[in-house]
Symmetry: C2
Subunit: 203 residues, 2 copies
């Protein structure tokens, strides 16, 4: 027997970066919606052709699912960061909502909102895999938040006279509500103002 063939890096090299494609796909899906985005739209946005996308990511649904997964991972990190650094619960919620506002709206442009709430959510009614992905994300987000709140912000929980579970449900809900508002095209300034006003409930 000869040596195993180690593929190494044969053939013509790729002209694009997978992570970059996912970022652009997220942007296009966010702006146009899943159904209204043609596969060619994304290829054009990347300056490459459809077959390249097919070979790498599979069909449109598969590319969308990878985009969502990637987005969810980043979102979870960002959310958790606020709750591990802020000094108190109200400040943590405020920081999280302000960070979200900056993701949902670029400066001086109408906001486009959240890829999950604005684009993935509608598909849940028909696509079971998507439904499970989103409900799983929400459930684990609530669970992580509850745990973190109970561990780090016990004093705030007692002062507010609510349970950690109620507060985690509320806080994730504040985020969803901001995402809904963000989809209606408000300015970043207004969105940040709403974020601050929403966080007031925790003071």
């Amino acid at each position: 027997m000869t040596n195993k063939i180690v593929p190494g890096q044969r053939g013509r090299p790729r002209s694009f970066d997978e992570a970059e494609v996912l970022r652009r796909a997220q942007k296009v899906f966010l702006e146009q919606g899943f159904e209204a985005t043609s596969y060619e739209d994304i290829a054009l946005a990347m300056g490459l052709s459809k077959p390249s996308l097919y070979n790498t990511f599979g069909d449109k649904t598969a590319l969308f699912e990878r985009s969502i997964t990637n987005y969810v991972d980043h979102a979870r990190e960002q959310i958790m960061a606020s709750f591990t650094t802020a000094p108190d619960l109200a400040e943590a919620a405020k920081q999280m909502l302000l960070a979200a506002a900056d993701v949902y709206a670029e400066p001086d442009k109408p906001s486009t909102g959240c890829l999950l709430v604005g684009t993935a959510l509608p598909g849940c009614a028909q696509n079971e895999q998507l439904r499970n992905a989103l409900s799983g994300f929400i459930a684990s987000l609530d669970a992580d938040l509850e745990k973190l709140i109970a561990e780090r912000f016990g004093a705030d929980v007692r002062a507010l006279g609510k349970t950690a579970r109620e507060l985690s449900l509320l806080i994730s809900g504040l985020l969803f509500s901001l995402a809904v508002r963000a989809r209606t095209g408000v300015t970043r300034r207004k969105l940040r103002k709403a974020a601050i006003e929403l966080a007031v409930i925790l003071t």
Copy 2:
């Protein structure tokens, strides 16, 4: 000059009811989304043919807009009803959220959620008319809520130490967050439980 022609009721009579078409269209749009719903789907759901829909409602976008308008009107009424009858603010919010939960999820079926949040929202990024309709609805909902809260629940506002504006923003946000959760297919029972837990923040 002869008499003016009073059209009366000439020609073949309609075989359907406009309000009924709107109700069914809302259901189909909610379950499938705007893009994924073909005009024929709605015609079939009504047991009639496409040209009948075109003659009465115009194209798919026009039918969708009428569906949304109709839905918004009913939603506003239902929401306001809770805030004009309940004895205190927490109870009003709870009643509103429970009523919403019952709209978002039929008994013993996975919830399909809210037509605005679940179906219309994604279209906002591309369709300015839709964006204006939704942002207008939210703005007027917030304004109406703020007014009603200031008028009827002044004692609760003072006890909570927040402004009527902050509370109205919060309460509409609780509704949006419930609508997001509802789209992930939870049972009515779970959705009602979440509604009750969310309303706790106002006690």
